[in-house]
């Protein structure tokens, strides 16, 4: 398949890479219908994210159609249209059970490396270095989704790709940023770097971007 691969600072290439395969019975493979470039992908592009390797497929704002489902995955079926969260979560561990999906204890195979740098490891992420799982990202024709019975959300046909794609990251991220502020009537909220995401209407920004 074709994918966008990182080869170093300011060096992205559109290349042929191996097709993803089901590796675990809970996996699914999606055929990507739309993907976006996140402001945080620019950190990778600019070469400031540690743990990247030449040829890594990046991208973590992705949606598509399910084309293959692992034998233990009872939630998805071929043909489902889904948006995939950028965070990979098992749904069963201490953190997932408490709703802290981005703290999943089981989705980062590079957990020992991450713990050395950060004390403990967070969840694995799509396309975001070999500190966070080395999972091939979604700026590609196809993507393998681990724990696909937990992460992907089915979306109705009447909504366009562009209306739902940002559920993968920047819409919930902007929403969370505002929720953290516990906003009350009359409050003044200052936001550095605006309009990354779906929400000027609700007054929310999102994800990271060079600015400020």
């Amino acid at each position: 398949m074709k994918a966008l691969c990182w080869h170093g600072k300011s060096d992205m290439r559109y290349e042929t890479v191996p097709d993803p395969k089901i590796q675990d019975p809970r996996d699914a493979i999606i055929k990507v219908t739309a993907c976006a470039i996140c402001g945080s992908d620019l950190h990778i592009y600019n070469g400031v994210i540690p743990g990247m390797e030449g040829g890594d497929v990046i991208g973590h704002e992705t949606m598509g159609e399910v084309v293959e489902v692992g034998s233990a995955n009872k939630k998805l079926k071929v043909g489902d249209r889904v948006v995939v969260p950028f965070t990979i979560s098992c749904g069963e561990c201490f953190f997932c059970q408490r709703g802290y999906f981005s703290g999943c204890e089981r989705s980062n195979p590079d957990a020992a490396k991450a713990a050395k740098l950060w004390g403990h490891s967070p969840a694995g992420l799509f396309g975001y270095s070999h500190l966070l799982g080395g999972y091939p990202g979604g700026q590609a024709e196809y993507m393998r989704v681990p724990f696909a019975d937990i992460g992907p959300i089915k979306v109705p046909e009447h909504l366009s790709d562009e209306q739902v794609l940002f559920l993968s990251d920047i819409f919930p991220t902007g929403y969370m940023a505002a929720e953290f502020c516990d906003i009350k009537d009359g409050d003044t909220i200052a936001i550095w770097a605006v309009v990354r995401s779906g929400s000027s209407r609700s007054g929310v920004p999102s994800c990271s971007a060079p600015a400020g």
Binding site: Y14, V32, C35, A36, I37, G39, S40, L42, H43, V48, P50, P85, F86, T87, S89, G99, Y100, F101, S102, L125, A140, E141, G151, V155, L159, S160, E162, Q163, L165, L167, F171, P172, T173, G174, M176, A177, A178, F180, C181, D182, D187, T188, I189, A190, W192, A193, V194, V195, R196, S197, G198, S199, S200, P205, C207, S208, A209, P210, A211, G212
Partner: protein, 179 residues
């Protein structure tokens, strides 16, 4: 809402949404926020920038740049420092911009003495999905308004450059494999 940026297209979007817009390349961010909050500071400050702020906007961001280039530092937290200073006593600093390592010269004295709350995370997306999908379905919000560039996946390498360099008002890129 006070929106701090310098990219004209993004500032226009924020203005259209009713925000007070502040260009950090042309104005003193701290002084403007003081003016807008009767000298008290903002109730909450959101750092959506993270580790790569604009490098010439202030002296401390130039120093950060040099330190990272010489392997003496891992991140360039200019925005976080400024957000702390601009936040009112007992206010909240909300961080969704991404940082990677060890941040230098964070004004913890300011934060502790004035009772600030720090909240931050890589988003637990799954937690938010059902309610935010419902908002889209109910027509309360249509996040597609941010999209400025549509292209095929094959054009990706050029789009990365265009997005990074903010060429032609590029704010958000969506690609399709078969476009």
């Amino acid at each position: 809402m006070i929106a701090i940026d310098t990219v004209p297209e993004r500032m226009n979007m924020a203005k259209a949404a009713g925000a007070n817009v502040l260009d950090f390349m042309k104005e003193d961010v701290y002084e403007r926020i003081q003016d807008l909050t009767s000298g008290r500071g903002a109730d909450a400050c959101i750092d959506a920038v993270g580790t790569e702020p604009h490098t010439t906007a202030s002296l401390d961001s130039v120093i950060d740049r040099v330190k990272v280039a010489t392997f003496m530092g891992t991140d360039r937290p200019h925005v976080l420092r400024q957000a702390i200073h601009c936040c009112r006593n007992f206010g909240t600093v909300s961080i969704v911009g991404v940082y990677g390592g060890f941040l230098d010269k964070i004004p913890m004295g300011s934060a502790i003495n004035r009772g600030l709350t720090f909240r931050m995370a890589q988003t637990p997306v799954q937690h938010y999905l059902p309610k935010l999908l419902k908002r889209i379905e109910d027509g309360q919000i249509d996040p597609s308004f941010v999209v400025t560039d549509r292209a095929s996946l094959a054009d990706g390498p050029d789009l990365y450059k265009k997005f990074r360099d903010r060429q032609d008002g590029c704010i958000k890129v969506v690609m399709k494999p078969e476009a």
